[in-house]
Subunit: 320 residues, 2 copies
DNA sequence: AAATTAAGTGTTATCGATAACCCAAAATTA
DNA sequence: TAATTTTGGGTTATCGATAACACTTAATTT
């Protein structure tokens, strides 16, 4: 007990015993057992960060922001990567529940994540939702402005004279994919262009194994002159595939996408894109979460929408 | 106790009570408390992964491998990012010790990490060292072949006719930086070229804030015609700086480096580099660690050296 | 000087799970 | 049928920390 008081600096301790305890702690290489501590205190000082793709620079930069904020507040970070896979996400939620983390920063795989988030709610684990809004879930959430960003990207293409603009989208189960499609449509409507749904393909954000969608687009009687990839990983797939087919970007087709590539992207700044403040996603999300956990007042649910920045680089050019 | 037996499938339980327990568990949304469990069992089923730069694709890919292996074996991953900063690394080691993790996959910041690894040894926490060898530490270790890789990169440049080859290296406190320098020297010696140490700059792997080193190189009476950056992040800095100075790669200077850029690098495959199997680093490291923890036999320390692959792309060309 | 308050430290119960032991009833064996 | 074994499940102590309370001394107050 006396040791506990020295460690936590609570209660009254004479300077003499305090020193004596400190010395013995040193000599014995004593380090308090945080498991035992968690058990009595009913809090672990562990937060969980669940992201959907650890190889995507957007999420790693986000993770960096989350980590910085967590460390600053004295929390440890239990890390989980769902790989855009609902089953993995569910596994990790079980793990999170049994670990009794104090809160979760949750980037959901898609709308069906409502089940997993419901689990957290049922067990009263505070969480903040990142990047993708989930219908039916009331919580603090940090989002990007997918619709605006998409609209600006497509308007940029239209401004360059493109009229046949394809969209390689993520799954319709994901809010950002839906909103980016809405932005795509808005840009067309505002410019008086009609929307041709044969130009829109729905894949999966994570990667681009299925090239048949791109084949179909390129084989159209009136093929696209530009492609809007809904995120950075899809853009990588598109560009690689185009290159394999001997097509040059931007000479043969212009390409734009959402999300930048982190430091790696700086080697050859190439893609014109809408860059989201990934670090801020993580930092702000974590701040909201910690406020929820530590703050007494239960505020309204907060919704932070972070703007994205249009970065015009070399992957787009005026239609010849 | 009966519940515990049902959960762990130990002891004798009649099918009837087993079912009854399961049902009540369901009804009450009961989830075992892993903290309490850890306390009696004296193991947490948590492993820690400590990397030095979460924004570096090499480490995120490594993390992916580590995560996959950990998950497969039923371990949770406590995540830590030292940012190439010894103080942060120390903080995280303290956190790791108080969390009583079952083991640590440790990518050290440099030779001084011997202190932090010593802490782990003192507390009998098994660990595997990744990527950088630490003098004075006996442990399983997974490394790349820095010397060979560097030699091949520099020989490639020499083969293209370059004789004035600069090296932008990491800190001499890091084994890979030392070995890459050795490889650089070997390539010169084997080709009968002398080594000019004014062409070698020692910075820090993490980034490239200090451009004075590059300035000094470019202002030499006999400036380099090629640059070997000791890792991918340094290469990013070099290329950006060269571009700012109006120099073209590879027309004005050829550039090579260690480590690829993950999926992001695929957008515009540009840099000629020695690619290390990052995923394997994580996967194998984690396997060694789990073997150590779970295996009864205490083997000799194992040292795995993974080869790197030369990838020749567009950032190098023959000297005019 | 007696009564009260404060300072410093020790005791006991607790968090939630499991190891080790125990014990009744049922099943098997002699 | 009596003796033994097996089955199924309950008790108690434990992991390491902390909350709540108790108890000496020493310091103040009346």
């Amino acid at each position: 007990m006396t040791v506990s008081r020295v460690i936590n600096n609570t209660g009254r301790i004479s300077e003499a015993t305090r020193k004596r305890v400190r010395k013995v702690m040193e000599d014995l290489h004593y380090i308090p057992n945080s498991m035992a501590r968690s058990l009595v205190l009913q809090k672990t000082k562990i937060l969980s960060l669940l992201i959907t793709d650890i190889t995507n620079p957007f999420y790693t930069t986000l993770a960096r922001g989350a980590e910085d904020a967590a460390k600053r507040a004295g929390y440890r970070l239990l890390f989980a990567n769902s790989d855009e896979d609902y089953a993995k996400e569910k596994d990790y939620v079980d793990m999170i529940l049994s670990t009794r983390v104090d809160g979760v920063l949750f980037a959901p795989t898609g709308d069906h994540s409502v089940e997993n988030l419901g689990q957290l709610q049922k067990h009263n684990i505070p969480f903040v939702v990142l990047d993708r809004e989930i219908p039916g879930i009331e919580a603090d959430v940090v989002l990007g402005d997918s619709k605006e960003g998409a609209r600006k990207l497509v308007e940029h293409l239209i401004g360059l004279g493109h009229h046949r603009i394809a969209m390689i989208n993520g799954s319709q189960d994901v809010s950002t994919a839906r909103l980016r499609y809405t932005g795509y449509c808005e840009a067309h409507l505002l410019s008086g262009l009609s929307i041709d749904d044969t130009l829109v393909a729905h894949l999966n954000y994570r990667d681009f194994h299925d090239e048949s969608a791109l084949d179909a687009l390129l084989n159209l009687a009136d093929p696209p002159t530009a492609i809007f990839a809904a995120n950075n990983m899809l853009a990588v797939g598109v560009i690689q595939s185009l290159r394999q087919r001997g097509l040059q970007v931007p000479d043969d087709l212009s390409v734009v996408c959402f999300d930048d590539f982190g430091p790696a992207g700086a080697i050859s700044p190439f893609l014109t894109l809408a860059s989201q403040p990934a670090y801020q996603f993580g930092l702000l999300g974590m701040q909201l979460l910690i406020e929820r956990i530590e703050g007494e007042a239960v505020h309204e649910n907060r919704k932070i929408i972070l703007p994205s920045e249009m970065i015009i680089r070399a992957s787009t050019q005026a239609l010849k």
